[in-house]
């Protein structure tokens, strides 16, 4: 039977089919739905951990206890989990352990497009990479088998296109769960002090050699011999793109992208005249194949940056082979449409105020990052999860008096819990003067409303203790703590100014639930209207950057300076009333 599934649903299914009942992760596009989907299966334990490092450690602990386990995260999440990652490679996993890295070529929803295949090589861990939705399911299952066979963590790498595409999938049988858990002791293998780690280090190299041998006969490293003129070596989604446009070339499709099957690659190279290596982002396969002394065409014709599509591959090869590329026409200049804060978003009021205060606002990862854009311009930096607080502190220390009352860090509730707590403690310990604003919208909004330790619910939907953010901040030693509703512009401005003027670190907690968060939704307010006669065309309300508010030009009349007036599109306005607060002419009601 075939079922239409997304790549992420398929991965969750594959994990379940493998008999796995234990998973930990942290939400992050494009990986989020894997955990949400897995959590819906019967009899599983699945948790949102506060961050990816914790998630991986939880999964390692479960594996050492004999339970097959999954750790799931987006590409940059692996950076957070990198510390345990490199050493679990030494210890091995006891039971099976698979780590999903969901990469984001083209940065659809990320701060960088790092190629996490490098982590496989760096940490000496095998990596599988599916090229479509069916393989997403099948490879998830295979990854657990390889982990069991070689006592190694195994990476399953997805990309946004695999995770977020949908296609018919043939389901497999579900391996029944077998409880193999017990407490076992093995200090030489699990206590990575130098003396033990030196010995395990040797085992890692032995395992890698065994995996190289395995790769030569691995069923998902496949040769498809067609036209012997041109051979393509590729993996992942690039394979599907290339097959779309060049079905007649010969292919070496690598289901396992690390370690590589050297003999198989040499064999393929001997059977075709010319080889293209097609891969998004880094020349990961290309460099290794070139190091084998095999001549291939790769990044000299394919881009290093952004994701591919069938057209990009077709044009690059056709150009090289002197065929005509597909024409592209330009029709009209089209206004760019970046994402924007939603109508009624609780962040809009706060960043409207911050943008006007002319502070340096160190931002963080969340929807609020979007307020860096005009007209709000309320954020001045964004690096990674949790960076806002450390950066604000560092900047304030470096600026000394010049930075007084001028440096702010802003961070969302989920991001604060993820990695904002140690840097806030550091601000207290090292006597900071910066202000931190925690934007508590009651959920992990950007990835689609996931639970976290302050929401009161677990991923499995059970009620649990809810972190009291204010009490935590106080326990870390912050003495100046204020709680505001960022929707009230006047008090928001006053309190931020007061806290900026104080000595020592301050924390403001801006509390208002995400407007899309159904659990917290109380009422549907009536949309607002602008009276065009009362509106004097000052454009202040447009400074909120609220999607329903736009500008209507009018013909100039004698004796009037008015060039137009603002209008609200009632179909999108949700009646938050922020615009009413900024209107000086009482034109909005």
């Amino acid at each position: 039977m075939k079922v239409l599934m997304s790549g992420n649903e398929a991965i969750a299914r594959g994990v379940y089919e493998a008999g796995v009942r234990f998973a930990a992760g942290y939400p992050g596009t494009p990986s989020t739905e894997i955990m949400e989907e897995f959590a819906r299966y019967e009899g599983v334990y699945a948790e949102w951990s506060p961050n990816e490092k914790v998630a991986l450690e939880v999964a390692i602990g479960a594996a050492l206890a004999g339970e097959k386990s999954l750790a799931c995260m987006k590409h940059v999440g692996v950076n957070v989990a990198a510390d345990p990652l490199f050493t679990v490679s030494y210890t091995g996993t006891n039971s099976a352990l698979v780590i999903i890295t969901a990469d984001d070529p083209s940065l659809h929803s990320s701060q960088n497009e790092q190629d996490n295949r490098n982590y496989a090589k760096f940490a000496k861990i095998p990596m599988l990479e599916p090229s479509d939705v069916q393989e997403a399911k099948d490879f998830a299952k295979l990854a657990f088998a390889i982990s069991s066979q070689f006592d190694t963590p195994v990476f399953l790498r997805s990309t946004t296109r695999v995770s977020h595409s949908k296609a018919p999938v043939t389901l497999g049988d579900i391996t029944p769960y077998e409880d193999k858990t017990n407490i076992s002791y093995n200090a030489a293998k699990f206590v990575m002090v130098p003396a033990n780690a030196r010995l395990r280090r040797v085992e890692v190299e032995k395992r890698l050699n065994a995996l190289k041998e395995f790769a030569e006969t691995f069923s998902e490293n496949k040769m498809e011999m067609n036209n012997p003129e041109i051979g393509i070596i590729t993996a992942g989604m690039s394979y599907s793109y290339a097959k779309d446009v060049f079905p007649d070339f010969s292919y070496l499709k690598l289901g396992m992208v690390y370690p590589l099957p050297e003999k198989m690659i040499r064999d393929f190279a001997a059977r075709v005249k010319r080889i293209y290596v097609i891969e998004e982002l880094d020349p990961f396969l290309e460099e290794q194949i070139k190091a084998m002394g095999i001549k291939v065409i790769g990044k000299e014709i394919f881009p290093y940056t952004l994701e591919f599509d069938p057209g990009i591959i077709e044009n690059a090869i056709n150009k090289y082979e002197h065929a005509t590329p597909h024409p592209v026409h330009k029709i009209h200049s089209i206004p760019h449409r970046p994402p924007n804060l939603c109508p009624g978003c609780p962040h809009r009021g706060l960043f409207y105020v911050l943008g006007k205060l002319k502070c340096f606002v160190a931002g963080d990862i969340g929807c609020y990052t979007l307020s860096y854009m005009k007209p709000l311009e309320g954020i001045n930096s964004c690096i990674c999860m949790g960076a806002s607080i450390g950066m604000a502190h560092g900047m304030s220390k470096a600026l000394k008096d010049k930075g007084r009352g001028k440096v702010v860090g802003v961070i969302g509730d989920s991001t604060f819990i993820h990695s904002g707590i140690p840097p806030l403690l550091n601000m207290v310990y090292n006597k900071s003067n910066a202000l931190v604003i925690i934007l508590d919208n009651s959920t992990t909004a950007m990835t689609g409303m996931q639970e976290h330790p302050a929401t009161g619910f677990t991923l499995l939907g059970e009620e649990t203790k809810s972190l009291d953010i204010k009490a935590l901040v106080a326990a870390l030693g912050i003495e100046n703590i204020r709680v505001i509703d960022p929707h009230h512009l006047k008090t928001t401005r006053e309190i931020i100014k007061e806290e900026l003027a104080k000595d020592g670190p301050s924390v403001i907690i801006a509390e208002r639930p995400c407007v899309l968060f159904k659990k917290a939704k109380t009422e549907n307010k009536k949309p607002f209207k602008i009276d065009p006669d009362k509106c004097n065309g000052c454009r202040v309300c447009l400074g909120l950057g609220c999607p329903p508010i736009s500008w209507k030009k009018i013909a100039k009349t004698e004796g009037s300076k008015k060039a137009g007036y603002a209008v609200i599109d009632e179909t999108y306005c949700n009646g938050c009333g922020l615009c009413k607060q900024v209107c000086k002419f009482d034109a909005i009601s």
């Binding site: 239409l4 069916q134 977020h164 595409s165 026409h329 200049s333 089209i334």
Partner: protein
């Protein structure tokens, strides 16, 4: 039957307009009709009011990659007019047909006055010039009449069925929404579908 093999469809709009649901319903109907459907979607951060696109590739015999190559869309369904133009520029060809909603949603750069939004007259002219056939309908007003602007996505699906570009009809739609919608929701969505049919 599909007119071409494969048929490449792009559903586009602004994050929050119900693009993903429209693509899911349409894909569901085509899967039930026995076709291989591959969908490529953009969501995540772009759901916050950015441009969004779903690529649907309908084939008689196999799964394809989830991205349509540039210049090779057969049908463009746009929940917002300028998004139709954006997709037409990259994916259109002289044989492309377009079904677009007339109601503008202004991007932030237009709100701040830095960018211009093309007039609906210009958009219509470009459609006429660069596509084989186009339908430009006010789905949002019809949706508001039914009580909720979000229904414009289903109105577009209804209108699409009336254009006879794909093997989908009211019965297939009814069967599809029965799978996961409550009786109340089915009723309003069917009304939206019918409203769309009436607009072609």
């Amino acid at each position: 039957m599909i007119k071409k093999n494969p048929v490449n469809i792009i559903i586009t709009g602004v994050g929050g307009q119900g693009n993903v649901l429209a693509s899911r319903v349409l894909a569901g109907m085509l899967v039930s009709a026995g076709y291989f459907v591959t969908i490529g979607e953009t969501f995540g951060m772009s759901q916050r009011g950015g441009s969004v696109m779903s690529h649907l590739r309908i084939s008689r015999q196999s799964v394809l990659s989830p991205q349509i190559p540039g210049g090779r869309a057969d049908i463009i369904i746009a929940l917002e007019p300028v998004e139709a133009l954006r997709v037409l520029t990259k994916y259109g060809n002289p044989q492309t047909v377009i079904l677009a909603n007339e109601r503008e949603v202004y991007p932030i750069g237009v709100i701040t006055g830095e960018l211009n939004y093309p007039s609906s007259q210009i958009i219509k002219e470009k459609f006429d010039k660069y596509s084989a056939k186009n339908w430009f309908i006010d789905a949002t007003s019809a949706a508001v009449k039914l009580g909720n602007p979000i229904l414009s996505n289903i109105i577009m699906v209804g209108a699409l069925s009336a254009t006879k570009q794909l093997p989908i009809d009211r019965r297939a739609f009814q069967r599809e929404i029965k799978k996961d919608m409550t009786a109340d929701k089915q009723k309003i969505n069917l009304a939206a579908f019918d409203a769309g049919v009436g607009m072609i």
